[in-house]
Amino acid sequence: MSAIGMPTVSARRRRTDVIMRGTLCAAAVIALIPLVFVVYYLIKKGIGSWSGQFFTSDPNGNFLGYPGGVRSALLGTLEIVALATLIAVPVGIGVALYLTEYGKNSLFANVVRYFVDVMTGVPSIVFGLFIYIVLVLAHVGGGFTAWKGSIALSLLMLPVVTRAAEVVLLLVPDHLREAALALGSPRWRVVTRVVLPTAGPGLVTGSLLAVARGMGETAPLLFTTAGAFGLTFNLGAQMNALPLQIFNDITSPRQAVIDRAWGAALTLVVLVLIFNLIARAFSRKSRMT
């Protein structure tokens, strides 16, 4: 230590500091390398197969010629995820409403909260197995169908929705609830007219993040919707989906089919990214209010 003024830091300590800062910076760079490589190869190998035909034709399974595009897979993914969202979002927000408005810190509410947390850690393939055992093996409304895939996805999305919704519902100031109650409005009115609208943008963010998460899942669909070639709007039939098609195309010996897998992967990533970015836009909006 020098006597007065700037304390001197020994050269050894300064060196350690610089080295460790550099190491931490290197860690961040290393973390981003795979992202760069994945995006680079996705664009390099995927963009080539994008064409009008790619988005307007279904895979045909022919051994020669154009193997077909991703139309049925793209629309199938959207259909399956849309139904899954219709299930997961109302139920997920409902559970979150129970937790914040009624259950609060009661034992039952804490148990529910705990198991919703646990659900986020359950592997997606296990949810697929659950639905396979309960609905597919039991032949409830046929064997493999698209709506069973939606239910499996909704089980995955539900905890994401609930956890996100609970956080934003807790942010709704209590004085808003109290003001509405003091004016004599019944509880359900307070919930539907005050709490939900106030938390609105945040709820949308959580739901969109759940949609983005569900969209890319393959394992639960493998055992429930099983995939198909043709385009169908019948949720009671087997349906194609982007992740399923990519998964099946990877093991193909045909280069044209592998190229299609890259194109489909790029499509899927763009789709997931769009939902992620919209979600972020909404979260910025909710932070401003």
Binding site: A31, V91, G94, V122, L273
Partner: protein
């Protein structure tokens, strides 16, 4: 609100409303409570059914399903030690590679990096989590595995004296490739939780360390890390849970050989991969299906235990609490001692 209009002079309490008017309230309350309860019932029901469906396997092989090493569907023998070992080895590799990078990234973002660059960098790390696992699998099969094979061969022959790591002949698909992809996949979740935990370190601790003359790294080592160790451990375990259950990316790059490899560059199998891979052929053989359900059950229980322990660590780490006795003190005294060195 129109409530004031419906309230006659003198006012009425909620209790005096007609039963019909109170009905929506009760419907909502009990409906929501029922919904919450339904989730618990559903989870319990799934668990019971899974146990029921895998009963055959456990009756036949008992604990041998987990500890015996002989998985051969053609002879209908299902002793899955190779799967359990594969799951543990790949997740272990994922943790060894993923945790240091993730924690380093979190420390860099929260403590070192210029404030302006923080948000965009954090967004990029989060985007790693947005890439679907089947896309990582595709990339692993056609880019990562072929490109790393020469490196692995060089490594294995150069460091052949290290057990488990060197000595063998690397195959195209192997434990290491699977572990590496898992590391990439669990990195964003570990880093996100680590950042959350690091953000709860009281600034008094950090300022005290800096005021006593600690350099930034010394401040991180003496004030930030001791305080957030428990939360970071929890985050790493949540990542472990994710790695154990990851299926699609792994099934594509693990090689799918139901044997226990002798080194990390040999092919193997994991619990999740075997379910995805053999599911189609198993549909006609009840005992094979049952064995796959049993694999699912083991996977479920394994991830459940890991997650429960992880939650405990994380909640210990992020709970707002008075600084633990000693933490602040030691941090500062050590920082002071450090400045003398």
């Amino acid at each position: 609100l129109e409530a004031s209009a419906t309230t006659p002079r003198g006012g009425r309490s909620v209790l005096e409303r007609s039963p019909l008017a109170r009905l929506p309230d009760q419907v909502l309350q009990w409906g929501l409570t029922g919904l919450a309860g339904l989730i618990l019932i559903l989870l319990a029901y799934f668990f019971v059914r899974l146990i029921g469906e895998s009963g055959d396997t456990f009756n036949r092989f008992g604990l041998g399903f987990v500890f015996g090493n002989d998985w051969d569907p053609s002879r209908n023998i299902y002793r899955g030690a190779a799967l359990v070992v594969g799951t543990l080895v790949t997740s272990g590799i994922a943790l060894v590679i993923g945790v240091p990078v993730a924690v380093g990234t979190a420390l860099f973002l929260n403590e070192v990096c210029p404030r302006r660059a923080r948000a965009p960098l954090a967004l990029l790390v989060d985007l790693l989590a947005a890439v679907p696992s089947v896309v990582y699998g595709l990339w692993g099969v056609f880019v990562l595995a072929p490109k790393l094979l020469p490196v692995e061969k060089w490594f294995a022959s150069t460091f052949s004296f290290i057990p488990w790591l060197g000595g063998g002949t690397p195959t195209l698909y192997n434990y290491f490739i699977a572990g590496l992809i898992l590391a990439i996949m669990i990195l964003p979740i570990i880093s996100a939780i680590a950042r959350e935990v690091i953000a709860t370190v009281p600034s008094e601790h950090k300022e005290a360390a800096l005021a006593l003359g600690a350099t930034r790294w010394e401040m991180i080592r003496m004030a930030v890390l001791p305080y957030s160790r428990s939360g970071i451990t929890g985050g790493a375990m949540l990542g472990l849970g994710r790695a154990i259950g990851e299926t699609i990316a792994v099934v594509l790059v693990i090689g799918n050989a139901p044997t226990i490899g002798h080194h990390i560059f040999s092919q193997g199998y994991t619990l999740a991969a075997v379910i995805a891979n053999e599911f189609g052929e198993a549909a006609n053989t009840p005992i094979h299906s049952s064995a796959l359900f049993a694999a699912g059950l083991v996977l479920f229980v394994l991830t459940l235990v890991v997650n429960i322990v992880a939650r405990w660590f994380v909640s210990r780490g992020t709970r707002s609490r008075p600084p633990r006795r000693g933490t602040g003190g030691t941090g500062i005294t050590v920082a002071a001692a450090g400045s003398e060195r």
